[in-house]
Each structure stands twice: as structure tokens, then as C-alpha cells.
Amino acid sequence: MAASEISINTADRLSAAERRQRVLPWIIEASRPYCDTMFETDEALVEAFECWSQRKTSELWIERASIGFESDGEVIGGFIACPGGILPKLRQVDALAYIKSAPAADIARRREFLERTAKLFAHVGPGDLYLSRIGVLRSHRGRGHGRVLMEGVIRTASELGLPRIVLDVSTSRKNVILLYESLGFQRQEERRAEYPGLTYISMSRQVG
């Protein structure tokens, strides 16, 4: 289906099963490679993200997500954007959940992970909209949906009256960086965490 026929809406109409099958996968995919070293196993990652996505106080709260739908209701992907004013609090509660849910043997490693990656992402101010996650389901890629979703992000910032959009992207995702640049985003600071070996670049765009 052509990208122009995609509508962006909330997750309200989706059942719990659809959320698990059609929303969680792109949230997880959009969290890579950061989340790959965050958890000990894929099962722990999926379990944690599923739990966080149901919690209002999480950066990953699914009700805050904007979902891209085809005209027949099929989900193609979506994005989660958070006003900068609430983001630090949400991250703090997620960090608490991350440590509290750790098996005893993994607590020290998880703490070290948080410590080593604390400076990996952009500083976000109260006047910013932070693009926390954006993704297109694998089965729907290559059709320009990413651009349509990004235009939705820009519209969201405008509707919320937030003058700047900030995002972080792994430097390994070169095509995505080019897409962001084509939409007016500019590269800002690049940050590296030697452990676990991640490099992210922050990008931002003013909203006119």
C-alpha cells in the first residue's frame, strides 16, 4: 500500500494480542542495538518491554505511541515521542524497574550497564519533543512508511507547541541517519560508551 494512504492514530483500537504482535516488535527493533546488551536474554528483553509498555510511567508506554495504520486497519509501525519535560522522570522509573526486575546474579551487571551508558543519549530540554522510538514492521519496509511516520512526528511537535525535535540514533544505522537529514534534522553530538561498545549520534530539527 502506498505511503500516502497511511493514517496515524493511537493504539486504542488494538487488542492486547495485536499490541504484542504488531506494536512491540517495532518498539524492540527501534531500541536496538542499545537494548541488546541491556538484558541477559531475548526473553528477558521481551518480557521487560511488554511490561513497561503497559505502564503509564514508562518511556515505552504504548498509549503514548502513535501507530501507522493502513486503510484496512493493518499496523505498519509507529513512533513514541515524549515531551522533554517528562522524559527524565519516565527514564528514572524505567531504570528502577530495570534494576528491581533483575535476577540477583545480574544486578551488578545491570547497574554497570546503566552507569556506563548514562551519557550515551542527548540532553533533552523541557521545550523539546524527544523521539524515543520509531519503526516500521519488517513486512512493510521499503515503501516510504518511515518518512510518513517522521512527518507525523514533526506534526506532533507542532501540535504540542514544542519548537524542537531531538532524537538519538545508532551510528550503525546509516540509511536512517540519511532519512533524518533529508527531513531537515542536523547531526549534533556523537557519544560512545566503550562498554558495551555503542555509539549514538543525537540529531535535532527546529519546528517552524
Binding site: 510511567t57 522522570k89 528514572q92 522509573v93 528502577l96 534494576i99 528491581k100 547497574r111
Partner: protein, 81 residues
């Protein structure tokens, strides 16, 4: 645990961790993390410490972030008088 005891526990925690007396700069509504009384990891330890002291576990499904990040909020959360 009373409100004053909770305040004392928080300030004692900050003193031990940061080796500074944070009490003059922090009132009930000062966000503890952004005031740099505790860093992000210190915040996790503070919550664990308060859970231990109060015998009450933080329910992440119910919690309002504002209630964890200030002394006033913590006092409300742990329902101290």
C-alpha cells in the same frame, strides 16, 4: 516513619554518598536527581534504602514519578505523617 524521619534518612543518605550536607538546598519540592543530591544510580539506591527502612515496596504500576523524585512526594508515597 514520620515526615521528619524520612527527610533525615534522605539527607543522611546524601551525606554518605556525596559527602555534602544537602539539607539547605533541598526542600520538599526540589527534584532530588536534578538538584544533584543524588545521581541516577544513587536514586535507585535511595529508593531501595527507603523500601528497606519502611518495609514497603515501591509498586511501579501505581507510582507517579513526581512522587519518587522529591522528599514531599516520597513522604506521600510512603504515607508518612
Amino acid at each position: 516513619m514520620t515526615h521528619d524521619e524520612l527527610r533525615s534518612i534522605v539527607f543522611e543518605f546524601v551525606r554518605e554518598r556525596r559527602r555534602v550536607d544537602a539539607s539547605p538546598q533541598i526542600d520538599d519540592d526540589t527534584p532530588l536527581v536534578s538538584a544533584e543530591a543524588v545521581d541516577s544510580l544513587g536514586f535507585l539506591d535511595l529508593i531501595a534504602h527507603l523500601e528497606q527502612q519502611s518495609g514497603q515496596e515501591v509498586d511501579l504500576l501505581e507510582v507517579d514519578p513526581d512522587e519518587l523524585l522529591t522528599i514531599g512526594g516520597l513522604a506521600r508515597y510512603f504515607q508518612v505523617s
